[in-house]
């Protein structure tokens, strides 16, 4: 039974995503909030309407798998684009702006966590959710608005790359701490069975394993380039794609089995592949896979979200959104000035950095794992979903209306943030 309707379920999932995407496009919004809402609407948590249940999607395993691939490819792609030399080239300016960005927002996020009565680890999760802006939403809006051709886009994208590095380190640490000796990672798909075979128990051993895996991947990135070149040396695009997917899913999956964040493993593997001459070809062939699986990831987040739970955290959510929208404005403006941009361009950096998205959700998904054992894990997840819905839309709207805001606020006030 389950097997026969699986294909139909997949069809429903993608049909719903297609509708959500079309609606978002129609209103000039990022697709990410739309995909989440799509997941909520057809998910198991929506109450019955007129005695008819809207629960269209129940079979979860294949969705989990695709969502997991979505995380892997999101991070793999970011690793692929990650270029240490480029970051180093504008090091002084971007380090300053990046430190301001992550410092202010991370601190405020953690402080709000404590204020809400969260534990230290839970507050650390909230700090991550709040601090990292959405590369996907912001980059797309930069292109749509044509800001991509202006100098502020370099600062904005530089900040996003800086945040990518922070996220990689952050996830590695948080995964090791949160999932300690349990061996299971963010995904329970592959983890459960194999993880029980994992002989390494205890937090210390787990951190040692994480470190070993990440060091191995860094070594691959530094010295393994010829090896990877040979691995991908094929004229057939089909072979090429299969090999890339095999490497990404294989390495990330193995990392997960060993209790290491699969997202971080994918990031480093991506960086290793990014050093080869195949980088652009990989980007070409892998983009559609990434978009497809990432869509399912956002959908799956929606599926898991209980609207009632989100409604229950409306007040802290409103406070969180208001405060951290303001902090991103401040850190973005300040960062832009530190980078050497004019006031007006710095204001653009400020509004651009407001949008939060995929990273906040990746972090929240980790916090909600039962293995993480966080008492407020579900609250954090609900908070994060509501937060991304608000901030994703708010960020896009702010960027789109920045000219109007500019005229309104900065014709009478000459200076400001």
């Amino acid at each position: 039974m389950a097997a026969t309707d699986l294909l139909f379920q997949a069809g429903v999932v993608f049909a719903v995503l297609a509708v959500g995407g079309a609606v978002a496009d129609r209103y000039g919004q990022s697709v990410i909030p739309a995909y989440i809402v799509a997941g909520i609407v057809v998910g198991p948590n929506v109450p019955q309407v007129f005695g008819y249940s809207f629960v269209l999607v129940e079979t979860r395993e294949f969705i989990d798998l695709l969502a997991e691939l979505g995380i892997v490819f999101l991070l793999f792609f970011i690793g692929l684009e990650f270029n240490l030399e480029r970051l180093a080239a504008s090091r002084d300016r971007i380090l300053g702006a990046g430190a301001i960005d992550v410092g202010i927002n991370g601190t405020v996020g953690a402080a709000i966590g404590f204020a809400l009565g969260f534990s230290a680890l839970e507050s650390l999760f909230l700090a991550g959710i709040v601090a990292i802006s959405s590369s996907a939403i912001i980059t797309k809006t930069l292109i749509d608005l044509g800001w991509i051709a202006d100098p502020e886009s370099e600062t904005i994208l530089g900040l996003l790359v800086f945040e990518d590095v922070v996220v990689a380190v952050y996830l590695a640490v948080v995964t090791a701490v949160a999932l300690g000796g349990n061996g299971g990672g963010v995904g329970d798909v592959a983890g459960v069975d194999l993880a029980s075979l994992d002989p390494t128990g205890g937090v210390g051993a787990s951190i040692a394993v994480s470190l070993a895996v990440l060091l191995a991947l860094v070594a691959l990135a530094v010295w393994g380039t010829p090896l990877l070149e040979r691995y991908l040396a094929t004229d057939s695009n089909e072979q090429f794609l299969v090999r890339v997917v095999a490497a990404a899913a294989g390495v990330a999956g193995l990392a997960l089995v060993l209790g290491v964040s699969e997202a971080v493993a994918a990031f480093f593997l991506g960086a290793a592949f990014g050093a080869t001459d195949h980088a652009h070809r990989i980007e070409r062939v892998i983009t559609s896979e990434r978009d497809l699986y990432a869509a399912v990831f956002f959908f799956a987040i929606g599926l898991e979200t209980d609207p009632a739970l989100v409604a229950g955290v409306l007040e802290p959510l409103a406070a969180l959104a208001a405060i951290t929208a303001a902090t991103k404005l401040v850190s973005g403006y300040w960062g832009g000035r530190t980078y050497g941009l004019s006031e007006r361009r710095s204001r653009r950096v400020a509004v651009a950095m407001v949008a939060r998205g995929e990273f906040s959700l990746v972090i929240a998904a980790l916090a909600a794992r039962p293995e993480a054992g966080l008492p407020n894990g579900d609250t954090i997840a609900a908070l994060a979903v509501g937060y991304v819905l608000v901030m994703g839309v708010l960020g896009t709207v702010l960027m789109g209306s920045s000219e109007a805001l500019e005229r309104r606020f900065f014709e009478r006030r000459v200076d400001g943030g």
């Binding site: 480029r86 044509g146 800001w147 991509i148 051709a149 370099e154 996003l160 980007e283 004019s342």
Partner: protein, 198 residues
């Protein structure tokens, strides 16, 4: 004039070109081949999009801008206004019966129907060689004619008289059936220059 080149993570590559009037042309290469062209009037102004082109059109525009645009760049659309005639490059081997003769003297056009429009010798080119240039080994004849005429010419130059090919006459559509073997080898010889010529 300086060109500034920047990688744009997740998007592609950005090029900025300083223009004479102080403005900047900004070209954005997307990974998917799409090209956007902007103009930024001055450093504090916002860039205005001028073009948003798919890869194919961007290349076309680029070749027009560089003055390198030919309609014939696409080899599949290649058209040469010669009717049925084609141009072939025919090597003159050392043992060719034509060595020591002139194009006129060998009655090449009368024998084969093909017209020798030029003769290449090393780096020299003799256009329209008539009775004044004696053929030497390793000369290359540039001949205009139909495929059948080109085959006749190839046979004549090869000295394929033992196959009876040189008496085919002008414009012969094909030799007698007995010639097939000889014709095959002559074609094989002239195959490469044919490809080059087209």
């Amino acid at each position: 004039m300086t060109v500034y080149e920047t990688d744009i993570p997740g998007v592609g590559r950005k090029f900025e070109l300083e223009l004479a009037d102080g403005s900047r042309a900004v070209v954005l290469h997307h990974h998917d081949g799409r090209r956007e062209v902007f103009r930024r009037p001055d450093p504090e102004a916002d860039s205005e999009q001028i073009f948003d082109l798919p890869a194919e059109q961007a290349r076309q525009l680029g070749s027009i801008l560089t003055g390198a645009h030919f309609e014939s760049v696409d080899a599949t659309d290649l058209s040469v206004p010669l009717g049925d005639a084609i141009i072939e490059w025919v090597d003159v081997p050392a043992d060719s019966p034509l060595v020591g003769e002139t194009v006129l003297g060998a009655n090449v056009r009368g024998e084969t129907g093909a017209t020798v429009v030029a003769l290449q010798r090393g780096t020299d080119t003799f256009t329209n060689p008539g009775g004044d240039v004696l053929l030497e080994p390793d000369d290359v004849l540039v001949a205009l004619g139909t495929r059948a005429e080109q085959r006749s010419l190839a046979r004549l130059v090869e000295g394929a008289t033992e196959f009876g090919g040189s008496t085919d006459g002008p414009g012969a559509a094909g030799g007698p059936t007995g010639d097939d073997a000889g014709e095959g080898s002559a074609d094989a010889e002239s195959g490469d220059p044919t490809d080059d010529g087209e």
